[in-house]
Symmetry: C2
Subunit: 337 residues, 2 copies
């Protein structure tokens, strides 16, 4: 890593897919941490569907990234200089940061990773920073999935969806995942143990869902919105739950997107549709991480990490989240730790 | 009342507004109750938006009324002959029945009204059979409205909406109601004590909601769906609740109706949208009735009963629920008790 800093800055709000001129990759001086802050060198940058939200000015759960500011991301890095008692040089930390080689952090934005046990830091970061807690709290706390129930998860081969399905299997649910290729479907069914997998690009969704879920759907963990949400609503059981976690099918939309045509099913079947952002569960992360680490050690949760080397490739990589090219947890590796 | 029976039978599924040939009004013999049943003479027929649902074959929370069957309705009647220990001749009963002068009932479908205290039976039936419990459980159990929160209720001058708003005021909420005329708005604001009223037919909804709810919306009690739902979603506060009670704006639709364009707000603001049918609360009716009767005795809950005389006028009357001509609880009076 050079003595110069490299920073991705947001220059425009994206319209549709993220164009080349939405972000610029700048060479800048390394910043100096103030009192109570630390300087962090980037090891891994998590790329997540929510990055597309933060770039836009759509209604969202945090302020959007301001134009010309460094792009926001969930990062794992190493403290190189510390003006806070919370961290020492050499500490490996994770939290909300920037798409930048060097960045200022503080105890307000970062947490020490601590020991990751038998797991490589990259894998622990990929599973525990966002993905695992999202799957865990979304499925169990919001979705209240119970033994014997039928769970459907969209984006089933994605980072969150693949973990949702495996936790649901651990809890004794029948699980169907949807994904965008036959390879992804084979992975979640044959390797991860989902009961059924539906290729949403080639299937007749309502018919395929009906066949995969003969007893209806109790919990739909929604990562995508759109036609998939509509098809699931139609087949929800009485008092079913929809975990509204993401709407990736419409983040690139350039026209207003209608809500689900089957919205009346919410009244008729007394469904609970509940929005969910994992940040609300920050204080309970240890519970999720403890459970996930145990299941991973027992081989009950498997995962794929989709690693792109080089911060300069972050923009090209983040696009793959909406094209379906990505499988599992997408991240940029800058320097292994 | 004659010795002949008059029965409204469903002949066609309505398309759009309920046309004359959707129901036929027949003269028939008075039925004979079997073992465990009773014969009931109709006093009052409650007309409710859900009647339009039951006539259709849309997805719904009970089986639709079968073609050629008597139309289903919530009724209040007097037992004239009983083959069940549960009722005696002369008992006044209410529950699920038919649009018919005489009808067969049983303890499975009817409950004794018991003493209505100082209230006329008609008013007690109007408030306690459906309306009051719907408002009470919807607002407090599903919506979890709390002191100091902002509540918006659509159909605010309707039977349920007018009670929702008054309960919300009793609980210390700021309340805005929407209604379809200036007269209705004046009634709910000046007489019922709503803080604000919006005429949805003439107002710029988003602007009017923003002005009426400067601190955002915590609970939206939705009786109508459509544009109103969309406008409210846009202004919901973090962890707000939408009580999905009704969608009257779209029951007459002849084309698929898109869901709310602001559906993504459910994720971003972590909203809970929960469907609600009061039948699920049958075992807790006494709690609601006790509270409502107390508030009514104290003058804290006022109501309007919109009475249409004559069973022959039921079809014309039920249409007014979707045209906005009706205010308060709509019912047909056949014979006072």
């Amino acid at each position: 890593m050079s003595e110069e800093n490299r920073v991705w800055r947001l220059r425009k709000r994206p319209v549709g897919q993220i164009a080349d001129d939405v972000l610029s990759f700048e060479k800048e001086p390394i910043p100096e941490p103030g009192e109570g802050e630390c300087l962090v060198r980037l090891n891994y940058l998590s790329l997540d569907p929510t990055n597309r939200i933060w770039m836009s000015d759509m209604d969202q759960y945090m302020p959007p990234v301001a134009l010309d500011d460094p792009m926001r991301g969930v990062i794992c890095g190493t403290v190189v200089k510390s003006n806070t008692d919370a961290f020492q040089a050499g500490d490996v930390v994770s939290g909300l940061g920037q798409w930048a080689d060097y960045q200022i952090g503080s105890p307000a934005t970062l947490n020490a990773m601590g020991s990751t046990g038998p797991l490589p830091v990259m894998d622990a970061f990929g599973m525990f920073a966002v993905v695992g807690p999202t799957a865990y709290f979304g499925l169990l706390d919001v979705g209240k999935a119970k033994e014997g129930e039928t769970v459907v998860v969209s984006g089933g081969a994605g980072a969150v969806g693949s973990v949702v399905g495996q936790i649901a299997k651990i809890k004794g649910c029948r699980v169907t995942g949807t994904a965008g290729s036959d390879e992804k479907c084979a992975w979640i069914k044959d390797e991860l143990g989902f009961d059924e997998a539906i290729n949403y690009k080639t299937a007749d969704l309502p018919a395929a869902l009906k066949a995969a879920c003969p007893d209806g759907i109790d919990v739909y963990f929604d990562n995508v919105g759109g036609a998939m949400l509509d098809a699931c609503l139609k087949q929800m059981n009485l008092h079913g739950r929809v975990v509204a976690c993401g709407l990736i099918s419409q983040y690139n939309a350039t026209e207003p997107v209608p809500g689900p045509y089957n919205y009346p099913m919410i009244v008729m079947q007394r469904l609970r549709v509940e929005g969910f952002v994992v940040l609300d569960y920050a204080s309970r992360y240890p519970e999720a991480i403890g459970a996930l680490a145990g299941w991973m050690a027992e081989g009950k949760i498997r995962y794929r990490t989709d690693v792109v080397d080089g911060l300069e490739n972050a923009l090209a990589a983040v696009r793959t989240l909406t094209t379906g090219e990505n499988t599992g947890k997408l991240m940029v590796r800058v320097e292994d730790v």
